[in-house]
Assembly symmetry: C2
Homo-oligomer: 761 residues x 2
């Protein structure tokens, strides 16, 4: 099933030999990003084969008009999506009059390497042109982490068999279209095209949203070490600026181009400061020089790895995979700006529009909390706080009132973007994950200030939603939640999804408790929030009434909570008995067949057991895992990680390892045959959890870190670093759990077979 | 709520005074049709105000590319729709140089009348032009029932206040667009533009489907009775041909134009015979003369009314309404061609694409069977027989095998057109109505030949579908049908919809019985069909096993069958307690809110009680009616009729009458504020049923017609005619049920208070 062509390596992705079939997949896998912008690993030079050109700027989106077959009341008018931005990496290259195009020339050697330790992408290849000339090209590219509005490219051309006439032309091009567009609308308007010797600037504005950006470049050229004049910048297309240079390069000599480029963005500068800022960045880049920038880049990444690295000994595939996941998460989101968030494909593709899903709270938050300063976690929470008014408006559209908030399923600016009723209106459990994230943030950081400042208001909006959304069933004499889609999206419009009902109950209780705690700890905040939200004691006691009387579907005979009412009416045939020809079912079965089948897309009841592990015994976990996992097809990238953690907890290490590889190498080995569309960024945080919570057995309770490590047979040992209350803590776990050592913990106690880290206050 | 502007009249629709706001509504209400073509009541002359131009040809459709937000496996690529055809009614008119445009001139009198007795639409109006000239226009138009490829227009212009320069120009125009188009694609290609003195012909072909048509016209002109020369035909636009004439008309004199026109269609002639056929029709029309054609038209309609009329004395609104319903049903479908069917909007609009829905079998069939020769009912069944292979393909796409057939929800040529998973894949009860129609046809006609010739194959395909679609629930130890949408489309993806399960059970038993009966009665057909379908005894006994063990949700405490599993978990607040501001809920509530509410769009459990009335006692009917009706919002046009019939059966005559008016005057009084989009044609058959089965209490059992009439207090008496086994039977029902007389029955026996008609063999 999987399609693996990358070489095993602990720090690098390495592709050898050229295959046009793999170009789009590698464009995804070798993507670069720095949190502020990112790009697929497109070639600098022209390529006529199948390619998916993509360059994106964080937070710069366009409200694409909704496309829908049959409109339903409440659907959003727009799907806001991060859009393809102008191209600044392009270099046109002709040698002896022939366009160097990997799709046309004879490729005799090809190698590309993404060095994750330093965040540098390199490509070298040797080709034979139509006239027999043998030519070598080497390209090196990186996006600076700091400053994050600039990248650099070094591009070297060496004729190997004879002298050659080389015609090289670095450019920027603002005539760009989105691959993912509902109505083929143009998204950008080009405002100004400015040249300044070997510098070029094009300012553009997004239509409707009015984001201003400046795409810029600067280039220099050396022949055999001697700097050459580049001809003055010229407009070579309606929205394209290019430098060009022609020269004869002797056999074995190298023509080297160095190009600085990137975007300055209206999110950070005034529109009229965009070009001056770009000039400043170029000046800075020239002063540092390419190698200086490269060193700075290495240092920046070293700081990230210092906190985030996980080393696995004895298993290079597992090692490569976890680093790839950590690397991509860091490329996607730096945590500096609470206006930004984590799109499911990051900067590696356009699917899902770069928007925010519940993935952020349910999967990504622990990774960023554990590997970065707590401010990053707080920024992720603040993102939702800033959208609270929109969430209240969103709930009002669906008939809720009095400040009830329903966060959108998919969003860019707080407004709902998605338009399938069964998701948009019914996959309401997302509201629970957003509340849970506040709890989780406090658990990780012990920062209780967020609650009074922002968190409690969010919780109140969410609790109000649940209290209204639950309705009273006279037949059951309990509160029920009808017509939902749970985490298992292979069920729609079901009644009493265990996960949703359990989560709703927890939200109501937790919010109630937090209101009480805030009254004691932070009476000023409490008073302000009560006044703002008009929250009274009647409403608080109603929440407790709903929570206390929340119905949870349970089967006495089996002793398991049911995923939803009526679950046992399905044909209970395990996945193991499904013919391989029917898998994945989402590509072979019509939707009704999937819905009435027992098959589970991703953890649903078990997702509840994951979040609320302490509320269930290990025996209960085992019983539910044994009941549900055999029906689970894991066709969501978010599925294997939760199961890996639970299998590890149950001591089923082979199963835990299989799930780990499936989540960790999902993109590297292209299990789902879709990596050409981009990587599964948010699930990468699940990979991290599989290691840390699964094999490491890390749990956080009442300010204590607990580890109960159990690692797969394939591994000699592993070591990871996490950030806890601002300190970096490295945990080394050998195959024998008793050998655990805590290298840098600021204070700890060790118990045989289990480790608890007690941090100093 | 309703918006009524038509004058009460037993035979006519009459609109007086001009209001631009009503133009689009009247265009729907005053529509003309003859089964082969139809047109909205657009003005002949130019109109610059809001208008919805529509002219349609039965069976001429275009596969519009599907529009969908999120694609699901199994969705159809196209939505085949009846499309707007070229305009043949147009007459450009200038007087004293001013375009006569009802939106611009000062209208001092306006009246339009649709005479349903004769199928003639007339319009007369007096206007004052900008220069002060007072002018009178009279227009009369009809579409011939025979021959059905031609219509005629008489258009008269009379200056009232002074002489006037009149510039008149009848035309045909093939440059036409569909209002309802997913991607603004062109649907037609113009092939040839031909003129022949005062005759014009434009041949066109639909793109993709390749239907050939010829739009034609011929025109003559008289001034004060003297025929005038019309200038030769000239092309006045890229796809437009026009005649033109200028003259001075004296005060009080009349300029009269007579125009013949219509379409000849490739469904009935070869492409190269289209123009000759049109010439022949013109010759015929000229030979008959306008008044001759008009008389022929009146005679044709008289024959229809002879069989189909219902007279209601004492209640002119009820009388007008039932005639309007019968008139529209006859305009929409003549029953001559088994390739045609009944679109929900007929020829009055484009919504629903003119395609076939379960409405045909569930609502329309009895009307056509009762008022026309039995061949018409047979043609409607044959339509589905011809689509059986496609229904088997359709089921295969959804994972069913071995000849299981799922008829499409919406279709033109047998292929599914609709693309909402909850409808397309899940509203499978339509299959039941198609089987029930075969049973119903035999009941009405006693024609058992259809079964062996065609019907049984359809039933076998349908039974196979149900046997596979039902799955065995170990928990219930019964067969269940999961994930369906019932007739109440305000529920989606529910489990064990009573109506669906009951219908599935009936289909399995009925098909089993028909296989056995055919073996006895028609062994030749039986052998042929068994060989063709590979039907064996194991499969037959499996059907009986599924039928015998079919689960039907039932509540012991209430003593009612439940619409679906979990129905009683809903908040059981009756519609009466819903604020008027929330009604209709489909315009005020988001879809999730509708779904989780108790509110019922149209008869669902009660639809089952309607089809299978004999299987329930009147007490059971009362109990279920009393339970479900209070939750029913009747937001489908198909809802009130069934409830009217059941209320009448329960002797609740006021309620029955209210429901009757709601169904009968739905469009005339525009209850749903949507008549501008077209009329609700298929529900008009439900109106007929309300009268005949509701107030007349007609039932057919074992070759006997039973009547147990109960009529509303508002009525003095009513009389209707039905066609039963080829004989026309008129039933007169007075307010006192004992006065029933059977005027023309070929043989009958009368019982006090109840009438049973025993027809001679």
């Amino acid at each position: 099933m999987k399609s693996a062509y990358l070489k095993p390596d602990p720090w690098c992705l390495i592709e050898e030999d050229f295959s046009a079939d793999r170009v789009m997949s590698s464009e995804s896998l070798f993507s670069l990003g720095n949190g502020a912008m990112g790009q697929r690993a497109n070639f600098e030079e022209y390529y006529s084969g199948p390619t998916f050109q993509g360059s994106y700027i964080a937070g710069v989106y366009y409200p694409d008009k909704t496309k829908v077959g049959w409109w339903k009341n409440g659907y959003p008018e727009y799907f806001a999506k991060v859009i393809n931005a102008p191209n600044w990496i392009g270099i046109d290259l002709k040698v002896n009059g022939e366009v160097v195009d990997l799709n046309k020339v004879n490729v005799i050697a090809f190698r590309r390497v993404l060095n994750m330790k330093s965040g540098v992408y390199e490509r070298s290849f040797e080709v034979v042109l139509a006239d027999g000339l043998q030519l070598k090209i080497q390209a090196k590219r990186f996006l600076m982490l700091d400053p994050d509005q600039m990248g650099a490219i070094r591009y070297e051309v060496t004729p190997l068999s004879d002298q050659a006439q080389v015609d090289i032309s670095p450019y920027i091009d603002a005539a760009i279209k989105n691959k993912d567009s509902n109505w083929d609308d143009p998204f950008w308007e080009t405002l100004e095209v400015v040249t300044d010797q070997n510098r070029a600037f094009i300012t553009s504005k997004t239509l409707k949203t009015g984001f201003d950006i400046c795409t810029y470049m600067q280039a220099r050229l050396w022949l055999n070490g001697q700097e050459q004049d580049l001809n003055g910048m010229a407009q070579s297309g309606p929205e394209k600026l290019a430098l060009s240079h022609k020269c004869v390069v002797a056999k074995g000599q190298t023509l080297r181009l160095e190009k600085l480029g990137g975007y300055t963005v209206g999110l950070y500068q005034d529109a009229d400061a965009l070009i001056p800022k770009a000039q400043e960045l170029i000046d800075f880049g020239l002063a540092m020089g390419f190698d200086g920038l490269l060193n700075r880049q290495k240092e920046s990444w070293a700081k990230i790895w210092e906190r985030a690295d996980i080393t696995i000994e004895g298993d290079v595939l597992a090692q490569q995979a976890i680093r790839f996941n950590i690397f991509q998460l860091n490329q996607t989101y730096s945590g500096k700006d609470p206006r930004l968030n984590i799109g499911p494909k990051g900067f590696t593709g356009e699917k899902y529009g770069g928007s925010t899903y519940w993935d952020t709270e349910a999967y990504c938050l622990p990774f960023y909390m554990a590997t970065k300063h707590q401010e990053v976690g707080r920024n992720l929470l603040t993102y939702r706080y800033k959208h609270l008014d929109r969430a209240i408006e969103n709930a009002a559209k669906l008939g809720f009132s009095g400040g009830a908030a329903l966060y959108p399923m998919v969003t860019m600016n707080g407004e709902e973007c998605h338009n399938e009723w069964e998701i948009t209106f019914e996959e309401i459990h997302r509201n629970g994950a957003i509340a849970y994230a506040i709890f989780n943030y406090e658990r990780y950081t012990a920062d209780e200030s967020y609650m009074g400042e922002m968190g409690l208001e969010v919780l109140i909006g969410i609790a109000r939603f649940w209290a209204q959304r639950a309705t009273f069933s006279s037949a059951k004499n309990q509160y029920v939640i009808l017509g939902v889609t749970g985490p298992n999206e292979y069920e729609n419009n079901i009644n009493n999804n265990f996960y949703t009902n359990f989560m709703a109950r927890w939200c109501l209780n937790y919010t109630h408790d937090m209101v009480k705690r805030t009254a004691l700890q932070s009476p000023g905040d409490h008073g302000r929030i009560l006044e703002k939200t008009h929250l009274g004691s009647d409403e608080l006691s109603h929440w407790i009434d709903v929570a206390n009387n929340m119905y949870l579907p349970y089967d006495q005979t089996l002793g398991v909570y049911l995923q939803q009412d009526g679950f046992l009416d399905k044909e209970l045939t395990p996945v193991a008995q499904l013919p391989q020809s029917q898998r994945p079912i989402n590509q072979h079965w019509s939707w009704d067949r999937i819905l009435r089948s027992v098959y589970i897309k991703q953890a649903d009841v078990l997702q509840g057991f994951y979040f609320f592990e302490d509320q269930f015994t290990p025996e209960e976990l085992a019983k539910h895992f044994d009941f549900y996992e055999p029906f689970t097809v894991h066709e969501s990238s978010l599925s294997p990680c939760v199961h890996s953690i639970q299998a590890a907890r149950l001591g089923r290490m082979d199963q835990a390892y299989d799930f780990y590889l499936r989540t960790a190498r999902l993109d590297l080995d292209d299990y789902n045959k879709e990596v050409h569309e981009g990587c599964h960024i948010t699930s990468m945080a699940g990979t991290w959890m599989s290691i840390v919570e699964g094999f490491g057995g890390m749990r956080i309770k009442e300010g204590l870190l607990h580890f109960s490590p159990k690692i797969p047979d394939q591994w000699t040992s592993y070591r990871f670093k996490i950030n806890f209350r601002g300190s970096v803590l490295a945990v080394h776990v050998g195959q024998d759990a008793t050998t655990v050592s805590l290298a840098e913990g600021p204070g700890c106690s060790v118990v045989v077979d289990q480790v608890t880290v007690q941090l100093t206050a």
